[in-house]
């Protein structure tokens, strides 16, 4: 394989289920060693794309290559080089933690001895070596997630696919997980992940695409996307319930752009504090106000007119 050729290459990639178009022709490349993200709300087509990339869902249109191979004909060879962390852990509840990994390794034709050794090494990596003989059921959500990540690494994959790796986890468990994923990235594993959390995308992704309704609406490194699509700061104003929409005329002309959401009004400006002073000067004082740096959520709002997490 040519070293310049991307590990994953999609051109006009489509997925249809009957009449429903989940993915409507998207292009992207993922290069070796890179950490690449799909950001978008539920139903944007992220998971459908991931399943096609994982070679478990037939491509309905366009072109998809992994390692230069076509999933339609070389699915098995592709899957042998992938690690998959599905949205639901799908751990084998009938087996204990270590056996879950050992058996999974066997699916890749790794010998028993090797598989057992690899399982122990990976349980150490995800800091669960003391849980090796535990059943799956009593583990916390974060621990199950770590077992799933260890399982996905059994075959020393070149690409690790993570579908919403931290959805449903508490903040502490998320940070533990991010730390492990960051180490993997340092070891040279290519990460491909989907998320609807902006902080996760900013933490983990070198480059990402924003998806909405089956299409890619923007692409680039997180910082660049923010720089290009949103002013530096955001002023968040909260008015009494139901009064947000009435503020429009009073706020007109403040900042570069405004968004009225059901629970607050966002004012985009390079200088948030200055914008707030102007709001007070006009007598439209809110119940509370907050100035923050603009984030990927603002980019998403800008591009689609909707928030990411409803």
């Amino acid at each position: 394989m040519d070293t310049d050729e991307p590990l994953i290459r999609a051109r006009g990639l489509e997925k249809r289920f009957g009449d429903f178009e989940a993915v409507k022709g998207i292009d992207f490349d993922v290069h070796r060693g890179e950490s690449f993200g799909f950001l978008g709300p539920n139903g944007a087509g992220k998971s459908s794309t991931m399943r096609m990339v994982g070679a478990v869902s037939p491509v309905t249109g366009g072109e998809l290559r992994l390692f230069g191979l076509d999933p339609a004909t070389d699915g098995k060879a592709i899957r042998a080089r992938l690690g998959v962390v599905p949205q639901q852990d799908q751990l084998d509840e009938m087996l204990n933690v270590e056996d879950n990994l050992v058996i999974y390794g066997r699916y890749f034709d790794i010998s028993y001895a090797e598989s057992r050794a690899q399982a122990r090494k990976l349980l150490e990596f995800v800091q669960l070596e003391d849980r090796a003989t535990s059943k799956i059921m009593p583990l916390s959500g974060g621990m199950k997630r770590r077992v799933t990540i260890a399982r996905s690494l059994m075959n020393d994959p070149e690409i690790l696919l993570l579908d919403e790796p931290t959805t449903g986890l508490d903040p502490q468990a998320r940070h533990v997980l991010w730390d492990r994923l960051y180490r993997l990235k340092q070891q040279g594993v290519t990460l491909v992940l989907t998320t609807h959390y902006m902080d996760e995308a900013e933490q983990l992704c070198d480059r990402l695409v924003i998806m909405d309704e089956g299409r890619i609406v923007a692409e680039g490194p997180p910082a660049e996307l923010i720089r290009v699509h949103s002013p530096r700061e955001v002023l968040e104003l909260r008015y009494p319930a139901g009064a947000n929409a009435e503020q429009g005329p009073a706020l007109e002309g403040i900042g570069a752009r405004q968004e009225v959401l059901p629970d607050r009004v966002l004012v985009y400006a390079d200088d948030g504090e200055a914008a707030l002073s102007e709001v007070h000067r006009r007598g439209a004082s809110p119940e509370s106000a907050l100035v923050r740096r603009s984030s990927l959520e603002d980019v998403f709002l800008r591009l689609t007119g909707r928030t990411l997490v409803e």
């Binding site: 289920f17 994982g54 478990v56 869902s57 037939p58 070389d74 699915g75 098995k76 060879a77 899957r79 042998a80 080089r81 992938l82 998959v84 599905p86 639901q88 799908q90 751990l91 084998d92 509840e93 009938m94 087996l95 056996d99 050992v102 058996i103 999974y104 066997r106 699916y107 890749f108 034709d109 399982r151 075959n155 020393d156 994959p157 070149e158 070891q187 040279g188 594993v189």
Partner: protein, 281 residues
Amino acid sequence: MTTASTRPRATNAQRAFPLTAMLLPPALRQAHRPFRILERHWFVGKTSFIWIILGGFFEPFFFLISTDLGFGGLIDDIEVGGTLVPYVEFVAPALLAASAMNGAMYETMNVFFRINFDKTYESMLATPVTVGDVVIGDVLWATLRGAIYSVAFMAVMVAMGMTSSWWGVLMLPGSIVIALAFGGVGLTAATMLRSIEDFEYVPTASLPLFLFSATFFPVSAYGDLGWIVNLSPLYHGVALLRALNLGQLSWGLLGHVAVLLAIAVVGVSVAARRIERTLLT
């Protein structure tokens, strides 16, 4: 991290039997590692295996004792291919066939949970394991369970003096073919169940096979409708084992074997198609 090696290769089946390979649906031709599935089931089942084996012994024991004691004094010897045999000896090989059937059928019912609740298959299919591996592995596992039941059953038959020919040893491969056939049927059935409530239909569907496969009374009791038993897959198993137990060998037995094998292939293929359509969308 190191690169896993990838060598796409033709399956053994494709090399050795090009014609068979052509007849098989694609899902089965891709089968590569069915034994990995057996390993997984063994990991899960090894601790409770002893109960399966004990159950395999006691169930036929209860059935045969009950039939022998209860009906022995009430029913005359029955004629099978020109030989008169005591009623319990008439029933025993038929119950052996039913036991192989039930062993395989019950085991494959677990497939419903693997597809719908445990998602066992989904995580397997994310690896180089294919749908063909999964269905063949599951059918082999079910067959293994059926075979264990059969060995236990045959041991009881020998202990109770219900065997009369050394050809009876062939009842073991015979039972394996029966288990294979009903493993295929059970697998397809498991993919058709929509909810746990649907399990209620399974015994209702297998009871007529159990009762009307010349199991408890000879085909002659059906009068002119005797041909009907040929429609029951289990009948072919019953007829096969009954003849083997008495050492009544004939070419016709191969016909029964062929029917059972055909059922196995169709069952496994249909199940593979259905699983593929459910999980690989």
